[in-house]
């Protein structure tokens, strides 16, 4: 017994020591250069920038003075690759569109000069023009909770995560009872970030109360919304936060195994998550009798294979089981009978990333952020015709206008804003005159869109709403699993009508037909994909019916001529 107590204490001490050492290590450098190493920035020479800086630091014998940290997404993807220079006692400087050449200049003309001249150093103008103001609204107006570490730590280093308080929430949770943990999450008001918005604490409570020799907790990382990459940003930038969130959830509902279901199109996210799991095992944070608490838990990674419908929880379960990803009717809900018939709770990547922070800051403090019924923050992938496109995190209840105009810097190329689309293929468009609307689950629903997983696409006056509706419907028709007929047949018929309208061959009664088919699909489809797939059509019809009618009139005019 005594021996075990000693071993347990040693394990905990090892974690504290690793965190301490990493903090000391960071402090020992006079300068830190952070480089975005996410998929997006890597694709535009970010990888080469990291290599160039590494070589440069070596050749100038600065390896003990300058630390290079490859990080996750810094947010402003449209201006990437981003590089952030932090010198002791100075304000950080962020560079945009860095290439290997500029990187070398930054090291020679900024870092080395500043180290040499200390107080009197002024950034030369030719470098200044490549920087972004640190107080620009894009950075200043965000509230980072889920993305707290993303863009700051090296996602491949568990020590980095530990040094920023990582796994402390999990350790705290181990001293609580499962129901205490669930109460805390309930109190925080956290709702599922995958789009449904189901209260997370309640889901965990159901799973905790289900009986079973085995129980599962599943992370839904099958980010199917085309044009959104919140989950990949989190998994690439801070995989340990997602893992810790899952571990806390597993403890709260006494789950024995965790499953990460990740899109196969995100190889970098899969690689970093797999590494994170390996490192966590090394520190005995996974396995049997974790940190001497008597709690056993392990997790595995499974890949999707390019099916949007697998984001639906029962289809996701079928996919892990090695079947076609088709949904099944609920109840029974997965928390009663899920993966292989065992109780399973399915949570989104971003939901998990919030958990460790809620435990750390306390449920009350988290509850204070956000709007009436939507608590905390939400990560959005702000894309399309916007100046500062990227990954942003804002408190719930911020208006669309603030997100697009202030954080996003407005529409690119001086064009006029027409609408914002949220919720991807299951959501709808919101025209400019409604942009004072606070972004939260219920308000977005009221105007015919949904929160969704976090895609936010900005459209300008040149974008045709009929084409957008056709694009989304084409997507859902292709992704429909075909199991239930309202979705399979209804979607195809709607798409045919839309194609007809788009070619200028629409008839007046087509609008009615679209509405009737939409109604049938919403009411009779088996799963969320079918029920929501008419949304893009309905909302563009609601706000931009004249664009549909314009296409019709062309046809009518033609007929008159004939």
């Amino acid at each position: 017994m005594e021996n075990k107590a000693k071993q347990d204490a040693a394990m905990l001490a090892k974690l504290d020591e690793a965190a301490d050492n990493q903090r000391k290590k960071h402090k020992s450098y006079k300068c830190q250069i952070l480089i975005c190493n996410s998929t997006s920035c890597r694709s535009s020479e970010g990888k080469e920038v990291i290599e160039a800086l590494g070589e440069c630091v070596k050749s100038h014998e600065l390896t003990e003075i300058v630390e290079i940290i490859p990080t996750g997404c810094m947010g402003l993807c449209a201006k990437g690759p981003l590089v952030r220079v932090e010198l002791a006692g100075k304000n950080p400087v962020i560079y945009k569109h860095v290439n290997p050449m500029l990187a070398r200049l930054i090291l020679a003309q900024h870092v080395m000069m500043a180290l040499k001249h200390k107080g009197d150093f002024q950034l030369p103008d030719f470098l200044k023009e490549h920087t972004l103001p640190i107080d620009m609204p894009f950075f200043a107006k965000q509230t980072k909770i889920a993305l707290d570490n993303v863009g700051i730590i090296n996602p491949d280093s568990i020590e980095d995560y530990l040094s920023r308080g990582g796994y402390e929430s999990f350790r705290k949770v181990l001293t609580m009872t499962p129901s205490e943990v669930i109460d805390e999450i309930k109190k925080s008001g956290l709702r599922g970030r995958g789009g449904g918005g189901f209260p997370t604490g309640l889901k965990w409570d159901f799973a905790n109360k289900s009986e079973g020799d085995e129980k599962f907790i599943i992370c839904n990382g099958d980010e199917g919304d085309p044009g959104a990459y919140m989950d990949s940003g989190l998994l690439e930038g801070d995989p340990h936060a997602v893992l810790e969130g899952m571990m806390i959830g597993a403890y709260a509902q006494k789950a024995t195994t965790g499953w990460f279901y990740i899109r196969a199109e995100y190889p970098l996210a899969v690689e970093r998550l797999t590494k994170a799991i390996k490192h966590a095992r090394k520190y005995r944070l996974l396995g049997k009798d974790i940190l001497g608490s008597g709690f056993d838990f392990n997790c595995e990674v499974r890949l999707g294979a390019g099916a949007f419908v697998c984001g639906e929880e029962t289809a996701l379960i079928a996919s892990i089981e090695g079947k076609r990803g088709t949904p099944r009717p609920r109840p029974p809900y997965p928390t009663e009978s899920g993966l292989w018939g065992k109780p399973s709770s399915i949570n989104n990547v971003e939901t998990f990333a919030n958990i460790p922070k809620i435990i750390r800051m306390g449920a009350d403090k988290y509850y204070a952020i956000g709007s009436d019924k939507s608590k905390g923050t939400k990560v959005f992938a702000l894309t399309g015709r916007v100046e500062n496109g990227g990954l942003v995190e804002v408190p719930m209840g911020m208006s669309i206008k603030e997100i697009v105009s202030d954080i996003g810097g407005g529409v690119a190329d001086g064009k006029q804003l027409k609408a914002v689309q949220t919720g991807g293929p299951s959501g709808g468009v919101i025209p400019t005159y409604l942009h004072d609307l606070p972004v939260c689950y219920d308000k977005l629903k009221e105007v015919g869109s949904i929160m969704g997983s976090g895609g936010m696409i900005v459209m300008d006056n040149d974008d045709s709403m009929v084409e957008i509706a056709k694009f989304y419907l084409g997507f859902t028709v292709e992704e429909s699993c075909g199991k239930c007929s309202p979705c399979r047949i209804g979607g195809t018929q709607m798409l045919r009508i839309l194609e007809r309208i788009s070619e200028g061959k629409g008839k007046k009664e087509d609008i009615d037909k679209l509405k009737r088919l939409s109604f049938a699909m919403q009411k009779a489809s088996l799963c969320g994909l079918g029920q929501t797939s008419p949304n893009p059509v309905l909302s563009t019809l609601k706000f931009f019916e004249e664009e549909y009618m314009e296409k019709m009139t062309e046809e009518a005019n033609d007929e008159e001529v004939k």
């Binding site: 044009g227 499953w259 999707g304 090695g322 079947k323 992938a381 459209m459 997507f475």
Partner: protein
């Protein structure tokens, strides 16, 4: 059984796999993938992924082997292969051009880029050229929406692509392909 193993010594002999765990036996890549995943739960799709990663597509024989090796009905393997977009049942061209068709890329002209590739190469989305050099496909969001429209060619990402860039991109890869072939040819000669 033993005699048979000696005689055949064939790495594709899947029946021997379960019965003779001889260390000397050389396993094929497919067999290794099956061996790795068969004992784990929820692993059919993972095994198929691994084989496709190695071979570029999933040959029919391998699907049969997976069914036998993992004790899954062949019909199940087939339905999985045909249901999920990610799996290819035929060998694609050497150079795989993936045009991103996520919303951001579509909005910023992804379709024009796709049409341009399609016209220049004379193939439609999902097809390969007759000489099996190029394969054209669309993908749903590669997570680089800030760089829209995006094209990925054999792992290399191109951002902010305009239709006028397409010709240069095709030529770049034709050259790479020719250079690679000549190197391969030279080493074959030696």
């Amino acid at each position: 059984m033993l005699g048979q193993e000696k005689k055949s010594g064939c790495c594709y002999d899947s029946q021997n796999l379960e019965k003779t765990p001889s260390k000397k036996k050389v396993f094929s890549k497919t067999e290794l993938a099956i061996k790795k995943w068969k004992k784990k739960r929820g692993s059919l799709i993972m095994a198929l992924h691994e084989i496709q990663d190695l071979k570029g597509f999933l040959p029919w024989e391998d699907a049969v082997e997976v069914a036998e090796g993992m004790n899954v009905p062949l019909a199940r393997v087939y339905e999985v292969l045909t249901f999920y977009n990610y799996f290819k049942l035929e060998a694609p061209g050497d150079i795989i051009i993936s045009v991103c068709y996520g919303t951001a890329c579509y909005l910023k002209g992804g379709k024009d880029v796709l049409d341009e590739f399609s016209e220049k190469l004379g193939i439609a989305d999902g097809e390969s050229t007759e000489d099996k050099m190029f394969h054209l496909q669309t993908v749903r969001c590669v997570g680089c929406c800030g760089l829209a429209p995006v094209v990925v060619i054999n792992g290399k990402t191109y951002g902010k692509v305009r239709p006028s860039d397409v010709r240069g991109m095709i030529e770049e890869w034709q050259e790479k392909h020719a250079a690679k072939n000549s190197v391969d040819g030279a080493s074959d000669g030696e």
